[in-house]
Amino acid sequence: MNRFPKAYMNPYLAGIFLGVVLFASFLVFGHGLGASGGVAVLTGAATDLVAPGHVENNGYLVNLVRTRDNPLDTWLVLEIAGVLLGGFVSGLLAGRARPGTCRGPRIGVRARWGFALLGGAIAGFGVRLSRGCTSSQALSGGAVLSAGSWAFMFAVFAGAYMTAWFVRRLWN
């Protein structure tokens, strides 16, 4: 493992790389990339494991885990398995795959975990409401010029910029 992490890829170059992967997905499957959907399926499967039968009362999760024999046999889960693998290999090659917590200069490790949990919960609710995340809506829908996806994308930036000042202590 490298002692010092490599520099990141030039953002425009990384964008072209990501764009080519996105295009390949459309060529092969007819749809773009996804990340939040897989997490939703896993959430449903975990719920089913902890409280068998409860998903029947959950108006959203039930559709994710009861429509197939094996709830995990879906592209949504396979794709995030690939994302984890690709992220890990890239991080390993660049010397960035090492345990840690990414946080602003004025926030403690535990507080950072708490805010990551809170932010994740808010984002998780929002992303189901909007039927997709930065990958499946903004990137994928954006590239095929879906009007709804473009509206979503600007709403995400608006929500984040409106909140940034109030939580500046987390990052500055």
Binding site: Y8, F26, T43, V62, W75, G120, G124, F152, A155, G159
Partner: protein, 201 residues
């Protein structure tokens, strides 16, 4: 010719393998871009580092141009591609809520996976939070089912369809807008950039 229907031509197993490979490329690209570190994502909203905007819009531009060029050449059937239907009410409200979670938590779903994959605990906590938020959504969606299903629903409407213009013109408009944003991003960075600060995590 494209999109392929590999599910029926090559079978389920090959299709699954292709999904894992696609995900691999996706995760690799996100990590290379620096999105495994929440500070690089949050910096976008404090105007210090416009990496998020640059990567996102370059990716959209690249894929969009390749999609419309290949469909103009008759290689790809644009009509066969999945167009996210416009649910403007829940789409915009959900986007705003998502944006709030993004700046508080420091990740979006894909990038939190990459952070967790590179052993960042804050990424793992973000994923656990997301699962909780999705569970709560499922438990409560019945209370606002009508809003979620119908508010601002316009079906699979595209920008060119909505504006009543040719697809090429919509593509050109997006390219020009993105170039303007890149130009603005460089100006903003020149003025506000202080790096992301702190040691690697």
């Amino acid at each position: 010719m494209f999109p392929l229907d590999i599910g029926s031509t090559l079978g389920h197993g090959w299709m699954n393998l292709f999904y894992i490979v696609t995900g691999f490329g996706f995760g690799f690209a996100l990590e290379r871009a620096g999105f495994g570190d929440a500070r690089n994502l949050a910096a976008q909203f404090y105007l210090r580092d416009m990496r998020v905007l640059k990567v996102m819009f370059t990716a959209i531009l690249t894929a969009m141009l390749l999609i419309f060029w290949s469909s103009a050449l008759g290689l790809l059937d644009y009509q066969a591609l999945y167009i996210n239907p416009a649910h403007l009410g829940p789409g915009i409200l959900g986007g705003l809520i998502f944006g709030v979670g993004f700046v508080i938590g420091g990740y979006c779903p894909g990038t939190s996976l990459v952070a967790a994959a590179t052993l960042k605990l804050d990424g793992l906590f973000f994923i656990l939070g997301m699962a909780a938020g999705m569970f709560v959504f499922g438990e409560t969606v019945a209370l606002f089912q009508g809003f979620w299903d119908n508010a601002g629903y316009h079906g699979e409407v595209t920008l060119q369809g909505w504006l009543g213009i040719r697809a090429g013109l919509a593509v050109l408009a997006v390219v020009l807008m993105a170039i303007g944003m890149f130009w603005g991003a460089q100006k903003i960075e020149a003025r506000f950039s202080r790096g992301t600060g702190g040691d690697p995590c």
